[in-house]
Amino acid sequence: MSIRDNAWQMSEALHNKEISAVELANDHFDQISKVDKDVHAFLYLDKEGALAQAKEVDKKRAAGEKLSPLAGVPLALKDVMTQRDIPTTCGSKILENWRPPYDSTVVTKLKDAGVVILGKTNMDEFAMGSSTENSAFGPTHNPWDLSRIPGGSGGGSAASLAAFEAPLAIGTDTGGSIRQPAAVTGTVGVKPTYGGVSRYGLVAFSSSLDQAGPCARTVLDTALLHQVIAGYDPKDSTSINQAVPDVVAAAKKLDVKGMKIGIVKQLSGDGYQKGVSNKFNDAIAELVKLGAEIVEVSCPNFEYALAAYYLIAPSECSSNLARFDSIRFGLRVGDDGIKSAEEVMNLTRQAGFGREVKRRIILGTYALSSGYYDAYYGSAQKVRTLIKQDFDNAFTKCDVLVSPTAPTTAFKIGEKSEDPLAMYLNDIATIPVNMAGIGGMSLPCGLAEEDNLPVGFQIMAPAMKDDRMYLVGGALEAALLSKWGKPILDFAPILAGSK
């Protein structure tokens, strides 16, 4: 048993009592203590809680109780999900030391399944960013090259997987925050259909786009985690009251013969790094070998997706983040008994929010202002409808759509942090999925020849057909594994101090 194993292998080892959950948790804490000073994937470790949960699982297993497949398997939780009494900062100073009095639904489900939550992972502040450089607590480093970004906003979750600090992680994806970090770290990440996983306890950035999802090192592991966290939740009005598609069976099927796979014309070509395009095309060739049929589809309105996204997401965030006012929780600045409540609110928000968050609050406030609403928010909603129509049309011609996940491999820390527009372009291929509320997966499809860094392959499926992503992803992953002879993360440099 090694921490480099996959989650399903750990699950089997636990089941066969080759290792205890406590030992497995300790092995991961051990790895974290060795590598996280360099990677900085974690913002908080809950050793006590994790070991208590592991002990409980071991006890139940010893007593012969029937356990969920992931019982005892460790997990890293993005710091945007509330966990009772555990600090939840969203990567922001304004929430530093805030301990929520309640569990998010995702956390409740994880706890019920016996999953061992190791701690909270780093992220761009309030999930706004594509590099994790916007965290108020310092950037996370990509385990493939510590001078590079691990993607964002869920860079901490993705890096923890690539650094073998955890075999499973939870991310959230508003415009690509699960998929783009997966792509640049050589891991797997899924944004489920909007409404597929409860948002209760996910600190909102943009309510109509946010979606929590599973992250892991293999498609099957991701599916196992998906199964645990998905499902209808009466606490989330936007959650879908339908059976969760059988994603685990789909991940195991490894058969795409006769499936129609659509390549989106607008998500390739100019702006995509050569190595990214090459690896993407190699993966398409593998799918053809497996018997899939490739068609090219056009989604003309995707051109406006990024612009519309940067109106809708900031608009919603300007309202969602209004509650951070120092009155009931979180940071409070300038409360000297003389200043008014309004002044204290102002000072707190000035000191508590970072630049990118402020930029988006200002953008959104402006876009919703009377006189501008129709031109900005209103038009953006129309674009959203058109993007949905593009997807609907495309899915009449094929079962899934595919594209590279991100236009480039991991860039250097600091390279784009002064250029917000260049940063926003990272999400050009992932944003349409959020705008339409459908599902998207990223899995590694090779290393770009220019820089030997991982490239992500995106699979998009219609709403509540998440199993299709796992079907195609599982088959492609198996084909690539046999082609490479070893998992992609085995090509990554071994981190100093690592096991």
């Binding site: 509330t82 309640y102 109509s208 309202s319 209004a322 509650r323 006012d325 009155i327 919703l368 609403y373």
Partner: protein
């Protein structure tokens, strides 16, 4: 020189608009399961949702939607097949999320009306008040500003916040402008709020207690020079907490605005606060710089799409309209207009009806509740029903009808019940209030009376029957009013050979 009300009305035509906020009496809040009890210990009825904690999400209370649809139907509104919640964004410490979840351009009920009757110089006249919209929203928390002179946040030393009220379902009922009320504007405003309150009470969707704030009224008023046909700038008076205040606020604003216009001053579009003591208003915040609430559809909630069948079921549940009910009862009980109005104004219609349903004569039921019981209630500044139960009053009336109590004795029984001495029969026993109809007991009293006034007795014997009155009175007096007067008369006349 300043204008009084009559002079103001001679020169200017008022235009009314009324916004009424009603707290629904649902057991749980609008978007979470917290209790809604009035007067609970501060911040004990809260949870992550109504405190707006990060990550929490709202879920609509179906009961609140049902109540709102019922209100819409009772006000003759159309129920929108598709409506949405919207966020109204502004910062205030007692608003947990710094936005209020409300409805904006897609309210649930639209285009209704309510007819109200007002007594005019030419008799009863019906005014139609058109309803623009009925929408749902959540209430805010409550701030208590301590240490300042005004009780407002500015100048306060510190403020206390109670979020128990945050998230309580509110329904806002907005009228269209109400034109052509002339000098009856104050009465129309009052009659509208009163009728609305009756309807809401009949629907059992709210406690409608103005003094507790479960029904709050904002009065919008503008003036235009008579005959000009041009709408003036309006003021919005808040904090109008009783029917009387609604009437006074309209009168006060008509006088204030007309006097400003007379001296060539502008009416400022602003929020004003009603002052109970003086009946005047003082300026609140100016709305000249229109606040931008940045409304947008609430993304955490799905649209409200009520099933047509459900709406029809709710329509069937609508109780009889208060106006229809009043007409029906007035006819059945043969009550004159004036007394009917008195009963309605005293809010005793339900009580009298309940008493009648227990078998009491309508006239007696009305006179006991509005007379003796109300008199005591007024003295103690409580409501009559808090003093004595419908059942007890019905029993007392029954005892009078059967001759076991006289009116005078009955008053003592009422007094005893109110004093907590027990049920009417217990009071009668304890105080010994039973009518004396025992022949021998009465006879000895009659004989004493005759002995005390032999000349009067002679006159009766001689055929002067009316003279018996004085003797009967003496018997009644000597028995402390407990004698059955009819019986006394019968025995006395017989005894005197008549």
């Amino acid at each position: 020189m300043s204008l009084d009300f009559d002079q103001a009305i001679a020169k200017y035509e008022p235009t009314l608009g009324l916004e009424v906020h009603v707290e629904l009496n649902t057991k749980s809040k609008m978007f979470c399961g917290c209790a809604t009890e009035f007067g609970a210990e501060p911040n004990t009825q809260t949870c992550p949702v109504c405190l707006g904690l990060p990550g929490s999400l709202p879920v609509v209370n179906k009961r609140a939607i049902e109540s709102t649809i019922l209100i819409g139907l009772a006000l003759n509104c159309s129920i929108a097949p598709f409506s949405r919640f919207a966020r109204k964004n502004y910062f205030y410490p007692d608003m947990p999320k710094n936005f209020q979840t409300s409805q904006y351009d897609e309210p649930i009920c639209v285009n209704g009306y309510l007819d109200v009757d007002v007594e005019t110089d030419s008799g009863n006249q019906t005014f139609r008040v058109e309803i623009e919209r009925v929408h749902m929203e959540e209430d805010t928390g409550k701030s208590l500003h301590v240490g300042g002179s005004t009780g407002r946040i500015h100048g306060a030393e510190y403020s206390l916040l109670d979020y128990n009220r945050a998230g309580i379902p509110l329904v806002e009922i907005v009228t269209k402008i109400v034109p052509n009320t002339g000098k009856y504007a104050p009465e129309v405003a009052r009659a509208y709020v009163a009728s609305l309150r009756d309807i809401l009470r009949g629907l059992k969707v709210s406690d409608v207690k103005m003094e507790q704030g479960s029904l709050r009224c904002d009065v919008n008023l503008s003036l235009s020079p008579t005959g000009s046909g041009k709408l003036g700038t309006r003021s919005e008076t808040k904090n109008v907490n009783s029917l009387r205040s609604v009437e006074r606020a309209v009168t006060g604003e008509i006088i204030r605005q007309s006097n400003r216009l007379e001296t060539g001053e502008r009416i400022v579009q602003e929020t004003r606060h009603f002052l109970e003591e003086s009946g005047q208003t003082r300026p609140g915040r100016s709305k000249e710089k229109a606040e931008d609430y940045r409304y947008f559809p609430e993304p955490d909630l799905v649209p409200v799409v009520p099933d047509a069948k459900w709406i029809e079921e709710l329509r069937k549940q609508l109780p009889e309209k208060p106006a229809d009910r009043r007409k029906r009862l007035q006819l059945a009980w043969s009550v004159p207009d004036k007394e009917m109005a008195a009963m309605v104004n005293a809010e005793l219609l339900d009580t009298v009806e309940a008493t009648v349903l227990l078998g009491s004569d309508p006239t007696k039921a009305r006179s006991w509740w509005l007379g003796e019981v109300s008199r005591i209630a007024n003295d103690r500044a409580v409501s009559p029903t808090e003093l004595i139960s419908v059942k007890d009053v019905a029993q007392i009336i029954e005892l009078i009808s059967s001759g076991e109590l006289t009116d005078k004795l009955a008053r003592q029984v009422v007094e005893g019940v109110i004093a907590g001495e027990g049920s009417p029969s217990e009071v009668i026993t304890k105080r010994g209030l039973k009518v004396v109809s025992d022949d021998s007991q009465l006879m000895s009293a009659i004989e004493s009376a005759i002995a005390a006034a032999p000349e009067t007795a002679e006159r009766v014997r001689g055929g002067n029957i009316p003279a018996a009155g004085a003797l009967i009175g003496a018997v009644m007096k000597s028995t402390g009013g407990q004698a059955d007067a009819a019986k006394v008369r019968e025995l006395l006349l017989k005894h005197l050979g008549q």
